[in-house]
């Protein structure tokens, strides 16, 4: 789950990371009031869950409350990469002399939380990694020890942070690590960590992505989810316990198992079609779940055919087939359906579906080709 900048920065602040004074506004008038209260030039920052807000014109500096209102009015309602701006963060503008990158991720290979830092802040770390890998200092944190002062000092030294700011930097690095661990983050990033004219360190921008699997123990963080930023189909999938990712193609895919679901998308492409989605209905595949999955797939107007690929293991094919029938009755799709059910009780399952006038197939290759042909015929 992605958090907005203002949410991430508020979490960081709880762990002692200094952030600019600022508040969130839903209207231009509110932005004006906040700028007035700040009494200083302010940055008006669109709050949408995508990168590249600055380039899209979603971040502007206002010298006066009047200007804050005008700019907020421009930014609110604008679309950035397909997402409508519904609120802006009005932050006190910082006097930025220098920009540092400070981020944390889980390093899968080393099985450690890694802290990465670069003196080239303000740009994407991937870009720095590609062009100046030497400019990135990485430390790996022992889960039993946590981040130790010497590690933070080593990062500060590599970044060329002056000695009088090293203590402040150590506090920020430690705070970011604690925020990461205690929020169960997948990613936590301060970019840039600004060095101000007054020699202060300030987290001017923040980003956080949380581990969905750990949200059960963070009800306060779960509440921060912005449903407006999630595609309605993805929200419905999440509520129904389905894994769904929308793609650009025209063949809807309903599969049990994540690996098989990916392989099904791939084979559709292999035979000249394009997948409309990734969807894993998981084990069991009861009719209500199948119906929800079918509704979600068909809510995409691009879908011209639906491919069911079910490997019945412990799940029985006849049971799944009945689930599909109930779902078809409820959803009444207008596009052709191709079903490939194999495994336990496959003959019974196929017989049930043949009565429902579904196109059936035995191999995945056959099913994919039939789905591609059915979609092209429309």
């Amino acid at each position: 789950m992605k958090l907005h900048e203002y949410q991430a920065k508020r979490i960081f602040a709880r762990y002692g990371v200094p952030i600019p004074a600022g508040e969130v506004a839903n209207t231009a008038a509110q932005a004006r009031e906040i700028a007035q209260r700040l009494g200083k030039p302010a940055v008006i920052k669109s709050q949408v869950l995508v990168g590249g807000r600055g380039k899209a014109g979603g971040i502007k500096v206002a010298k006066t409350p009047d200007e804050a209102e005008t700019l907020a009015d421009q930014i609110l309602g604008m679309e950035i990469k397909g997402l409508k701006v519904k609120r802006v963060l009005v932050d006190e503008a910082a006097d930025i002399q220098d920009e540092i990158y400070l981020g944390m991720i889980v390093d899968r290979e080393r099985r450690r939380v890694a802290m990465m830092a670069s003196s080239e802040g303000g740009v994407d770390i991937e870009e720095v990694a590609a062009t100046h890998p030497d400019a990135i200092k990485t430390i790996y944190i022992d889960p039993f020890l946590g981040i130790k002062p010497y590690q933070a000092i080593a990062v500060a030294s590599a970044l060329g942070i002056p000695p009088d700011q090293t203590r402040a930097f150590t506090k920020i690095a430690t705070g970011l690590y604690r925020a990461f661990i205690e929020s169960d983050a997948d990613l936590a990033e301060i970019n840039p960590l600004a060095v101000t004219g007054g020699g202060q360190l300030l987290a001017v921008d923040g980003k956080m992505v949380l581990d969905d699997n750990a949200l059960f123990r963070h009800p306060d963080l779960e509440e921060m989810r912005d449903l407006a930023e999630e595609a309605p189909a993805e929200t419905e999938a999440r509520i129904n316990g389905l894994s769904y990712v929308k793609l650009d193609g025209e063949i809807g895919c309903m599969v049990n198992g994540a690996g098989l679901a990916m392989a099904t998308m791939d084979i559709v492409k292999h035979f000249g079609g394009s997948p409309a989605n990734f969807l894993d209905i998981g084990g069991g595949a009861k009719s209500d779940k199948v119906a929800a999955a079918l509704r979600i797939i068909l809510s995409d107007p691009n879908v011209k055919a639906v491919l069911f690929n079910i490997f019945g293991g412990i799940t029985r094919c006849d049971e799944v087939a009945r689930g599909i029938l109930v779902a078809l009755e409820e959803v009444k799709p207008a596009v052709p359906m191709v079903a490939r059910l194999v495994g336990t009780n496959e003959a019974e399952g196929r017989a049930i579906l043949a009565e429902a006038q579904m196109i059936t197939a035995t191999t995945l290759a056959d099913a994919a080709q039939k789905a591609v042909a059915a979609a092209k015929a429309r």
């Binding site: 699997n213 990712v245 198992g257 994540a258 690996g259 392989a263 492409k269 997948p275």
Partner: protein, 288 residues
Amino acid sequence: MSILVNKDTRLIVQGLTGREGKFHAEQMIAYGTHIVAGVTPGKGGESVLDVPIFNTVAEAVSATAANVSIIYVPARFAPDAILEAADAGVALVVCITEGVPVIDMITVRAYIDTTSTRLVGPNCPGVITPGEAKVGIMPGHIHMPGPVGIVSRSGTLTYEAVAALSEIGIGQSTVVGIGGDPVIGTKFIDVLEMFERDVETKHVVMIGEIGGNDEERAAEFIRQHMKTPVTGFIAGQTAPPGKRMGHAGAIISGGQGTAAEKIKALEAVGVPVAHHPGEIAEMVARRL
């Protein structure tokens, strides 16, 4: 021979009194797996499916000399269950549970590494040595004993490959599902090494997917250490970047972990990669 589990496996089921645990224990017993104990705190002294239940793994081990444990407890209790099994000296722990927080797995794995326990999973279908022992949730009947070792990050995709092999009369030595999470107990390299040492495994099928770089590491290991031929498959060629594809670990992040990179790495070391799952069995048949 085989790897990890066999007819000498003496299995504990952690979470045997739960719905999932009981259902799968029944299937495992039907397959012929020797389940010697169940563990559910507070239910010691009871019995389920004629299997005695103990309060702790340590008690179960000392009473039954169990050597493998399988975990079916909910995600929030799974890290503790893994640590408990490791502390009780169980040699192999298979964690089926899906949805374990990654921060927990970092700590669990770091602790496990200080013990002699091997962990498989979490978020995996388990391990089966056809005809000997099924320690997992895979459908037993699609398997048959034979010369092909399979290691995979996925569940149903693996069943697909197994069923296709069995259909043309090619059996499996052991099939290992290592799981789809970012931090897991046993990786491709660990299993490849075991298959390489196993005299009965004449061919290995490796089924990977997007995310991380374990397949690339495996390719390097194959180049340096393996004489047994390997056939590969990588799922997720059409997966978009930055989106999690069901498995917590299946995500292309920062341009890293694409299917194209993994296929290239495998092909570069002489591992042919199937275009789709249906090709896997045909390729193995040609190369055996």
